[in-house]
Subunit: 527 residues, 2 copies
């Protein structure tokens, strides 16, 4: 008779592109998100946890005339043939939730959401198919106060988690200003507009001269390939280059002397100011006004550009009223990321401190959050345009930044380990550990095989334990315990002379009743 | 020419069996889980967040000779043809994680995990296809100290989230004692054993006489159907009934007088006690010992039953050493849930306070957590038996209990709302709200259309706002603000006489500079 076929053992591994998070990886992220949630809550935002699973239809991931969901999502067919999928971001579910519950939600609706999202994409180094997002959006108001509020909230959130003032800046731009640039340069053909947008996106990489070439006749790539140009005249290209160079130009202007607002602002700009005398009061705003003056000269003649500048002026005013100056939140036309997606103001939070890249060269840490205004959130469901503005913090990026700043340690301190010298006294060891926990001290009894004491010390080492408690027959008889300072012990073992060794013992014998106090003292000293 | 086909609008709805969580539903759950995590951490447990997606193979959800995943999971095929699925609990992923990372993890490995799991089941009222689990497990030790520790930790966790001592009890039983009962009754046929287990599970429903019938010749169901009996003799059935009635029997015995341990304990039981004199010292343990004496008489002659009682005795001793008496954690043979799954001790946390059921009758709240020892966690992956013990808290059940006890409110207090009387003074309103937030007070500016002031007050009402701040042209001119206590206002509107109304104004005019202080005072009074 044939043996029954034995099933092969399953492989113990995560699916490709997924990973597990251990210990401090979980708790530091949770603590960071909790701190951010506290700020969002203070701003009147309400938590929302939408279902992780959505209909593919609601996600908008069905293409017309295609009978499988779009790429990029993990999808399957439910029993009733409906396609379901894991959410790929937190914005598409917000649209569904707002359309579904709009009669029960306040208007405007401020909500924050934090949680994993899933992308059915090719995984790569550091690119996972499940990761956290952390979003805040205000739905249902076109008021620039909503945009200003989100910028202020973003600044507060960064400070709350430990990015000091001066180490970050929130840059604000406006899609409408860019539209004004396009109009002012006479680029009306949609394909040509798209080509200009792509070129603007490359500014960081190819620089001013590269952009000039790409906007004009074309450019020989570093790889030797020839990239066709957009074909603009030099004069038209100059408007775009001047837009991209706004920061440099304004810096040069300001070096010549403080701005003289009354001379420089074209008439129309007066509308932006509630009251001209505020200018002088808000000296900190000088930079913002200088930038807007510059942009006004570029696009002030176009209706859309003027509208965009008016919005930026409002945001700047509202922020100034709350004490957020350009040192924290600044008008900056160099923010071009996401301009294709957003319809009004766009913002990006950048960390300005330097870290070393993989080759050891210093570079700015860079972007950790971005957002902007978008107006077609729920129209897909209801046919009604609902204005909305939101921000998304890159959770992994911000965690990496906090690590880089030394704000979160790489390893968490482990528990105090009560070792087991006599298996029959387990109840006594449990009593010790119980007392420590009652006192709020993280502690555990060694629960492995206690035969080999060396293994217990190795265990304590692997756990990152600060202290080991040792109590055998002699100690029980004398009514004492041995308390070993493992951190000091390790330092001494590494560095100390024999004299120091003798002078600074790392192990103490104390009465049993003094266990908790002594452990507490040592922990306090170790901090 | 035909019009291009217009796509129908997608429906804004969650998939069947899924739901969204709003505001306080999210934050109260997060706060509860955070409190529990604090206790787990203090006990030396480390956080683990495994990937939500697993290979179907690792979940063990492939049946032999079936080419689709087992029912009960949401599964789909990855690009490389591998079947992936959403985790359906937190234990299967723990097995995979432990097998995958065992060389890097301490032994034993204490871990906790909290997060959503997904079940592809028919949804029903209150039954969702995504819900939270909250687990703690110790992997890699057979020591009863691990079981005792988890029981103590469970009791601490319940108290930490707000269930007072006396309102809960952790009941502990042991699968091995049940096996002893089966052996003592001579039930060796696996089918008959299974039938006995099913009958035991029905004890709560059919009572003592029903169990007698089901163990014997059979029973006429309430529905009129006849249920075949197991066919045991009355004498054998009596052992099982006596096991199920342990609590009642022991209660009757204890009423006759305090137990006289030395007379009553069969010789073998002495092994359980480290030291006979401890008995008198641990008067609180009397109940546990009386129960174990009773069980000893039933199953003490079987090796497995004796082993089970020895384990229960160890757990009782270890808990007593840490001060956990039977008022909190008690040996109780009536715990039968999960006995089919677990291999050693099993435990269940029950809340003993009464709530009203849907018909208004008082009943005990019941179970909120359960767990036990299981030994085949990772053998599927590695071939090696690894002992483990764990507990799972029913997150939604415990939240419902906290609601029932009034520990968490149904509605969260909303933000202070700064109303907009003059759209052009938005910067001033933002300054007010900025000051309030700086002072840690949850506050927002009304960002809807400010034209209709009534709508602003309706908005404040819908937001559950405690206070509205009102400032129009007159107030700006006088340098004051109006502060309206909305909670007192609502009370007065409902109950007050005209005199009270006059005496207790709910609206105050204060200097602009006193805004934050006055708001803080009113909030403090409202608590």
């Amino acid at each position: 008779m044939a043996k029954p076929k034995k099933e092969p053992r399953p492989k113990a591994e995560t699916p490709k592109g997924f990973r597990d998070y251990f210990g401090a990886e979980v708790t530091t992220r949770a603590a960071m998100l909790n701190a951010i949630a506290g700020v969002y809550h203070r701003y009147g935002f309400d938590a929302l946890e939408s279902s992780a699973v959505e209909t593919v239809e609601a996600l908008g991931k069905f293409l017309p005339d295609v009978d499988r969901p779009n790429e990029g999502v993990f999808a399957w067919q439910d029993e009733d043939e409906k396609w379901l999928a894991l959410r790929y971001d937190l914005t598409a579910p917000l649209a569904r939730v707002y359309a579904q519950h709009r009669n029960d939600l306040p208007t405007p609706y401020r909500r924050y959401a934090m949680g994993p999202v899933w992308r059915n994409e090719k995984p790569g180094p550091g690119r996972f198919r499940q990761f956290y997002q952390c979003d805040a959006d205000t739905v249902g108001t076109a008021s620039m106060a909503a945009d200003a509020e989100i910028c202020a909230m973003l600044a507060d959130a960064l400070e709350e988690v430990g990015i000091p003032r001066g180490d970050y800046v929130v840059r604000v731009n406006n899609r409408k200003v860019l539209n004004g640039v396009l109009e002012a340069t006479g680029v009306t053909d949609p394909d040509q507009q798209a080509a200009v947008l792509r070129t603007i996106d490359k500014f960081d990489k190819v620089g001013e001269s590269g952009v000039r070439e790409l906007l004009g006749k074309g450019r020989l790539d570093a790889s030797g390939a020839y990239i066709d140009g957009v074909g603009l005249s030099d004069e038209r290209a100059e408007v775009i280059v001047s837009f991209l160079n706004s920061k440099k130009i304004v810096e040069a202007e300001l070096r010549e002397g403080p701005p003289q607002p009354d001379d420089r602002i074209p008439g129309g700009m007066g509308i932006i100011l509630n009251d001209p005398h505020e200018r002088s009061e808000q000296a900190g705003q000088a930079w913002n006004w200088a930038v807007m003056d510059h942009l006004m000269r570029l696009v002030g003649t176009t209706e859309i550009g003027f509208q965009g500048l008016k919005e930026l002026g409002e945001i700047s005013d509202l922020l100034a009223a709350q004490g957020y100056g350009p040192d924290r939140i600044v008008i900056d036309p160099s923010v071009v990321r996401g301009l294709g997606y957003y319809t009004g103001p766009v913002f990006e939070a950048e960390l300005t401190f330097e870290i070393l890249d993989e080759k050891g060269r210093p570079r700015q840490f860079g972007s950790v959050a971005g957002g902007g205004r978008y107006d077609d959130l729920v129209a897909r469901f209801t046919g009604q345009q609902v204005p909305a503005v939101g921000v998304s913090i890159g959770v992994d990026r911000l965690l990496a930044a906090l690590h880089a700043k030394g704000k979160i340690g790489s390893a968490e301190r482990g528990p105090v380990v009560v070792t087991v010298m006599d298996r029959d006294r387990m109840a006594d060891y449990q009593a010790m550990v119980g007392e420590l926990r009652q006192a709020g001290i993280r502690a555990e009894v060694y629960l492995g095989n206690p035969k080999n004491f060396g293994n217990q010390m190795k265990y304590a080492d692997r756990r990152g334990s600060p202290i080991a408690v040792i109590c055998g027959g002699d100690e029980f008889a004398k009514g004492v315990v041995q308390i070993k300072d493992l951190i000091l012990g390790a330092q001494i073992a590494e560095n100390a002379t024999v004299e120091e060794w003798k002078e600074r013992p790392s192990q103490y014998e104390v009465p049993r009743a003094a266990l908790v106090d002594k452990v507490r003292d040592i922990l306090a000293e170790q901090r």
